[in-house]
Amino acid sequence: MTRHGLRRGLRVFWWLTLVFLYLPLAVVVLYSFNASNSAAHFTGVSLRWYYRLMGNEALLSALGNSLLLAVVSSLIALLLGTLIGYGMFHHRWRRLGWLVVLIYLPLVLPDIVFGIAEMAFFVQVERLTGWLSPGLGTMIIAHVSFQIPFVALIVYSRLVGLDPSLFEAAKDLYASPWQRACHFLVPTLRPALISGVFLSFTLSLDDFVISFFTSGPESATLPIYIWGAIRKGVSPEINAIATLMIAAVALVAVASLLLGRQRAGRG
């Protein structure tokens, strides 16, 4: 009897938690269709805020910056991270403790310390040499720095999980290291490479704090643009942009659910 009560209590608690988690997002979506520009009253359904977005050049350029930053930084991180991951695996019997510390450093640093360290450094370098003025370039550098560890660790764990005899076979099959890399390593690492670059891409898109401190006047990304708009005062337009971003996440979530189902069905 009490066990039954516990079950029911847990189920209620579960649904309450979901309400807690989704309510702030639901409010954003709801107000994005609000005809009035008051945040407290919902007066009717309208798409006026969405129409206003389309003519907003600052917003479109922020979207472009976000995508460019994510693509370029994740590709650089893919190259450097894969090399490190492979090197760590190949030389795993050596003493590479310093490398492990180096790799974990970006993961444990608080975002805010990461961001201001980069900013202070870039400002000082610019003062001394004239290079690295804040903009997309400095943001790419900062993003690659926090993306490298993720790619390296994903590649490394994939290599560790492989059957060691595969490497022997590849050595017998292909004479040159290049052939081995092209015909054996890259194909076997493909899942790790894809998830590494995908994770880097989403981390870059999602980042606010580090971008905020390394950006220049012309290089605002979407989260920075939204931050600025919020600081200027809550406008219903922000709800509309935010709703589009929530919709993108929802699409990815549904896709991952369907993919998971399909894979489970096959297995």
């Binding site: 847990l10 608690f13 579960w14 938690t17 979901l18 988690l21 989704y22 309510l23 702030p24 997002l25 409010v27 954003v28 945040a39 407290a40 450097l80 090399l83 490190i84 090197g87 760590m88 190949h90 030389h91 490398l99 180096l102 790799i103 450093l105 970006p106 993961l107 444990v108 640093l109 608080p110 975002d111 805010i112 310390v113 990461f114 201001i116 360290a117 980069e118 202070a120 450094f121 870039f122 550098i141 720095s145 290291p177 989403t202 999602d206 606010f208 704090v209 401190f213 979407l222 989260p223 939204i226 931050w227 919020i230 809550v234 935010a242 971003m245 996440v249 929802a250 990815v252 991952s256």
Partner: protein, 307 residues
């Protein structure tokens, strides 16, 4: 890159020994991290020991001024403002972590006892909100807690807040935002621990007529401890360094260490003071990681702790 290529050039493949191979693979990325992460970190730390210049730029005579300022000693004498901020960071982190733990235990248990086909869906449902941008999530809470909203109205009618005031900026709003942001980071490792739970220990406790509380404490809790530790690392450390939530839902009166640090680099323009705050934050982070690692090792399953 170029250094690695030189190692390859002279003798072709044979000259490219194991060290050359190491250089070719590890060096480019390691150099990148050394130049663009370690060097800035060292520079930031050295800034903390410099003098604050007239325009906020760090200057040469090395002093401990910044640390004195951080402790509250200024030109106008001592003020407790910075210490309050520090204390607030600690209490907010503690309260938010405890709340997250209290919410996560029943949730993780509930998911682990659900039908197998529903578990991935439930986990996804918990995680999806955290895929949206942090700024947007926090903005959602600003919408909910603003003056005139039902929640604010309810608090007003209970005379918890004065009329026509929103529920933010306030300490409670910051706690709420922290809990909201970090809940999934606790549920996931706890769920992993619950999934591996040896149920026979629980049954043994129940057979001995242990009360539910004692059963939990002696049969369940020790088994989920590695998951709990991993969760605490994932929640407490980023919570202590929080910037976005406390800036938007707290503001100047309720700021945390992260906001204090950031302000010195933007408007406040006292780099040494900000850098001293950053050092404090780093020390707290590494101390926290160290304690968690030690506890994880003592449990035997040190590898279970994520970091």
């Amino acid at each position: 890159m170029s250094g690695a290529r030189v190692a390859q050039a002279p003798g072709g493949r044979r000259a490219l020994g194991e060290t050359g191979h190491l250089l070719l693979t590890v060096a480019p990325g390691a150099l990148w991290l050394l130049i663009f992460l370690v060097l800035p970190g060292i520079y930031l730390m050295s800034v903390a020991f410099m003098t604050n210049g007239p325009y906020g730029q760090p200057q040469m005579p090395l002093t401990l001024d910044a640390f004195e300022r951080l402790a509250g000693y200024g030109i106008l004498g001592w003020s407790p403002a910075n210490l309050y901020t520090l204390l607030r960071s600690l209490t907010q982190t503690l309260v938010a972590t405890l709340l997250v733990v209290a919410i996560s235990y029943p949730l993780a248990y509930h998911i682990s006892t659900a039908k197998a086909r529903w578990r991935p869906v439930m986990l996804l449902a918990l995680v999806v909100p955290s895929w949206t941008n942090q700024v947007i999530r926090t903005f959602g809470w600003m919408n909910l807690l603003a003056p005139g909203t039902p929640l604010a109205g309810l608090a007003e009618s209970l005379s918890l807040i004065p009329p026509n005031m929103g529920l933010y900026p306030s300490n409670i709003a910051v706690t709420l935002g922290l809990v909201y942001n970090f809940l999934p980071f606790m549920v996931l490792p706890l769920y992993a621990a619950f999934e591996k739970l040896d149920i026979s220990q629980v049954e043994a406790a129940q057979d001995l007529y242990a009360s539910p509380l004692r059963t939990f404490w002696h049969a369940v809790f020790p088994q989920t401890l590695p998951g709990l530790l991993a969760g605490v690392v994932l929640v407490a450390i980023p919570a202590f360094g929080m910037y976005v939530v406390s800036e938007l839902l707290g503001g100047g009166k309720h700021m945390l260490l992260g906001n204090l640090v950031a302000r010195q680099f933007a408007g406040g323009a006292n780099w040494p003071l900000g850098a001293a705050g950053a050092i404090l934050m780093l020390l707290a982070t590494f101390a926290g990681l160290y304690v968690m690692r030690r506890m994880g090792r003592r449990l035997g399953g040190g590898n279970e702790v994520v970091i």
